[in-house]
Amino acid sequence: MNSLRLLGVQFAYENLKFWRNSIAAFFTVALPLVMMVILCLLFGSQQTSSGNEPIYLSTFYVPAMSAMAVIGACFTNIAMEVAISRDRGLLKRYRGTPLPTSTLVCAKLAHAVLLGFVLVICLVCVGAWLFDATVSDIRIGMFAVILVLGSATFCALGLAIAAVIPNAEASPAIVQAIVLPLLFISDVFLPMDNAPAWLQWIASVFPVRHFALGLQSSFHPILMNNIQEWVHVVVLTIWFLVGLLVATRYFRWEQKR
């Protein structure tokens, strides 16, 4: 009971810190929403049809931007926050208190994951109400599986990257250098159907594309790709384990001396 209370307290402070940090809050929360609005305004009226109903391109952007939002909340956010906290000596300070390590880590991860979920809900609502995205054909079970698995994977990878980043000054550059190119080749901003096969092959090694495609195919059948959904689950699970392994092996409480 006491450890649950402690988790609650730490979670509340992680949340408070996050919203007061306007830069982090902007990039994590506003960016995916703004991006979706812009992309839907530009391309949202393009349509195909499935049966009798028209399907707008906004139906593609809701799950795509959801993937970007979860990656921002879990991977980017955790990697930067942990690297900065470590370099500023905050992790070491926590280490000197009775706060259990598991509580500290769980509070950070729970905050990131819940933030990602809330963002996905916002994106679905905005997409459906403002841009006529088709939400009625969602397979909610599969969508939830991919969402939860993806959140866990990007949290683990965020911790792993934080562990191998040499210092906090380098963290934005390193994290963005990883995330941005992957987003572009992973069906997030633009469908990759017409991309060269070798580029699709490269993208398919990494978890971003599987996460995005998994969310898309379970969001609407018209977005189904030639890759089976179980492949997405397997690839994401492998990356989850890799992240977990690196994070636990190389985690540091303080900056290298």
């Binding site: 905050l90 070491k92 208190t97 409480w253």
Partner: protein
């Protein structure tokens, strides 16, 4: 049964690769005592204190703090200690009060918030974010967070480095408040005067070794007293004094092995030769001088 010693260390060694930072030290700190570890940069003070805090694993030696082995990171141990690290920042998006509240929530039996604010002189800054605090106030917030859990033992690694003289005085008052709360305190410092003002006992640490230990007075007395005076004369001093004397024009300083005997000879010589000894005084060197003297002789030894 609890030991009379809060900290017991025997034969502590710690190396980083080829560099031996701590070369076999013994240390005993009594319950309720303010104990200072004094020494220049690189002496091994922070390494020692971080071993006691549990952040570093020693290569060898026996370490018991409040009956615990720090490296095991037991939660019960953390409940009873407070740690103020040398270089650490606070959460920039939390106010003074919020930071202290957060740390308080980690402990079973924390100090009341208002008591912490009062003891560290931060009552007026309770709603202020760290960005708007002065260096001294930030450091006091560090101490406030170390104090939050109502620890029996508080570690303070260089609590006043970089302070202006006024802020240092305030910090010393704060440390004396801690003594009244009955806390055991282990602090590290570069400054002899700080030790003189706040510590019950101190150990001087140079090059990974403790070279001297005692009360601040005892440490100061390890240096010899100095007789100084001005004499407007060309006469030379008696031969047995001359070897201990340094003369600079009319001003003369003597650092004799035997104070009373030397004074007797000196005043006898002055009366006999009708020499006026202006501004005759005997001074103990300040602890600062003693510190410099101790460190210098240690340096010379290590060069041999």
């Amino acid at each position: 049964m609890e030991s009379a010693y809060a900290i017991e260390v025997q034969g502590l060694h710690k190396s980083y690769g080829d560099f031996e930072a701590v070369k076999g030290i013994d240390l005993q700190v009594k319950v309720g005592e303010i104990f200072a570890l004094l020494g220049p940069n690189g002496a091994g003070k922070t390494t020692t204190i971080e071993i006691l805090e549990g952040f570093l694993t020693p290569n060898s030696g026996h370490v018991r703090v409040l009956g615990y082995d720090p490296i095991k990171h037991e939660r019960n141990y953390k409940e009873r200690i407070g740690i103020v690290l040398q270089e650490t920042e606070v959460e920039e998006f939390l106010s003074v009060e919020e930071s202290i509240r957060l740390v308080r929530s980690y402990y079973q039996d924390p100090l009341p918030l208002d008591d912490i604010l009062a003891a560290t002189g931060l009552t007026d800054q309770r709603r202020v974010r760290p960005r708007k605090l002065s260096g001294g106030q930030k450091r006091r917030l560090d101490v406030a967070m170390g104090l939050a859990g109502n620890p029996d033992l508080l570690f303070l690694d260089e609590p006043t480095t970089g302070f202006d003289p006024h802020a240092r005085r305030d910090a010393w008052d704060m440390l004396r408040n801690l003594r009244e709360l009955g806390k055991t305190v282990l602090l590290t410092s570069h400054y002899m005067d700080e030790v003189e003002h706040v510590a019950d006992r101190a150990a001087v640490m140079i090059d990974g070794k403790i070279i001297s230990e005692g009360t601040p007075q005892e440490l100061a007395h390890e240096s010899e007293p100095t007789i100084s005076f001005s004499a407007d004369t060309n006469l030379s001093l008696p031969a047995e004094l001359d070897s201990h004397a340094t003369r600079d024009g009319s001003h003369c300083e003597l650092s004799p092995p035997n104070l009373v005997e030397t004074l007797h000879v000196l005043t006898g010589w002055a009366i006999e030769n009708n020499v006026q000894l202006e501004d005759l005084s005997i001074t103990r060197r300040s602890l600062d001088d003693a510190f410099v003297q101790l460190t210098r002789s240690a340096d010379e030894e290590s060069e041999d």
